[in-house]
Symmetry: C2
Subunit: 233 residues, 2 copies
């Protein structure tokens, strides 16, 4: 849901997913600890000691960047197969917070053990590095969208990306339930929640989607993608 370029073009074709990792092999080196999460539960707070990465097994979480003066920015949403905490690598304390949007389960991967495991398993090292690079590309795609698209286009782009992520997980890209509130979506897209509401109803009016609160049905995929790209009208 990081609004990365929707089409898997040649540049992103080889983006490695952490999901298809051999966890049985990994468990020989790293003690993987399962954690159940409930809605609104913090997985970690900004400022807490950084000790582990987290693999999302189920559910959906948001990562939130915080400023000293109280400003906050949702920097992404993570679902099954995504890795959490990589942004804090090299620090002693977490750079941001991670909050569960619904109940779910994450697998804790203690970082010191991961480091030694990386020395034994070059494949793991490559996957981790690839995950970091992929995160940078996602963020840059977000910058491009927020920097160049208007409110409606941003919302459309977001929905296209969400749909693609659901498709990758084997769910329907045509009909899904958003896991986050309007406020979270708005914050992520650098908009206000009223604006997101208006954009959603407008996309509904245009028969591109059918919305009912968090339930979204994609009626005109091509049209939605056209809207998500720079094309006006």
């Amino acid at each position: 849901m990081n609004m990365q370029a929707e089409a898997t073009d040649t540049r992103t074709a080889h983006a490695a997913a952490f999901a298809d990792l051999d966890f049985d092999l990994l468990r020989r080196y790293v003690q993987v600890i399962r954690h159940k999460l409930t809605a609104d539960q913090y997985l970690y707070h900004a400022g807490q000691p950084f000790q582990a990465l987290y693999f999302v097994h189920s559910g959906c979480l948001k990562t939130v960047e915080l400023a000293d003066d109280g400003r906050d920015q949702v920097t992404g949403f993570r679902m099954r197969g995504d890795l959490l905490g990589i942004e804090s690598i090299g620090l002693r304390q977490h750079a941001c917070s991670a909050v569960a949007l619904e109940q779910g389960e994450v697998w804790e991967l203690p970082y010191p053990a991961m480091l030694t495991a990386c020395r034994e398993l070059p494949e793991l090292q490559a996957k981790l590095t690839a995950a970091l690079a992929e995160q940078i590309r996602q963020d840059h795609a977000w910058m491009l969208n927020v920097g160049t698209l208007n409110a409606e286009q941003r919302v459309a782009s977001f929905l296209v990306d969400v749909a693609a992520r659901y498709a990758r997980l084997g769910y329907s890209a045509r009909h899904f339930i958003l896991r986050m509130r309007r406020t979270d979506m708005a914050n992520f897209l650098a908009l206000k929640h009223e604006t997101v509401s208006r954009a959603m109803t407008r996309l509904d009016d245009l028969r591109l989607i059918a919305v009912e609160r968090r339930e979204v049905r994609v009626l005109d995929d091509a049209g939605l993608r056209r809207m998500a790209a720079g094309c006006a009208s």
Copy 2:
């Protein structure tokens, strides 16, 4: 110049710089190739084969994300000590373009050789990973600023960050020359160049800075930082 949090707080205190790397040691493993660049010269284009990372030895470059429909977004500015190309790790082709803003020199680090060198030098591997994570944190700080600050505050924040980067390189944080045009600044800050101009003159009117085209003098550092934070007025 990526508008990261200006104060080096406890969270960013251990951000590893690639600058203090032992290049003599690295040269035993990697054939470092020097490249001179002239203003407006592309170091690499989006879509070109990804074969190397680049260490900026002198000069200033911008990285530009491109969309199929022609939209473009400046994702950052790189100066001496910064690493270029890391966002394309794991891909066959570069994900973005890099353009020199002035004459300068970069050192090409062929990536396959870097990979093998990383296996021999754990310190190098750590530095590379840290550089990737640091990039993510910079991007998230940018998201926070663009998502929550108005035009004036963004420009102030940008100037504070530029000043900090110059200071780190041993130059004056009080008096410097911007290396990029208003258009590049504006694109990076998700504004229009006219808006950046107006913001600069307003910061000048407020006696926080003294501007004359690309020349900037910081008159009230604390005031500028206050403006760069969420504080209104």
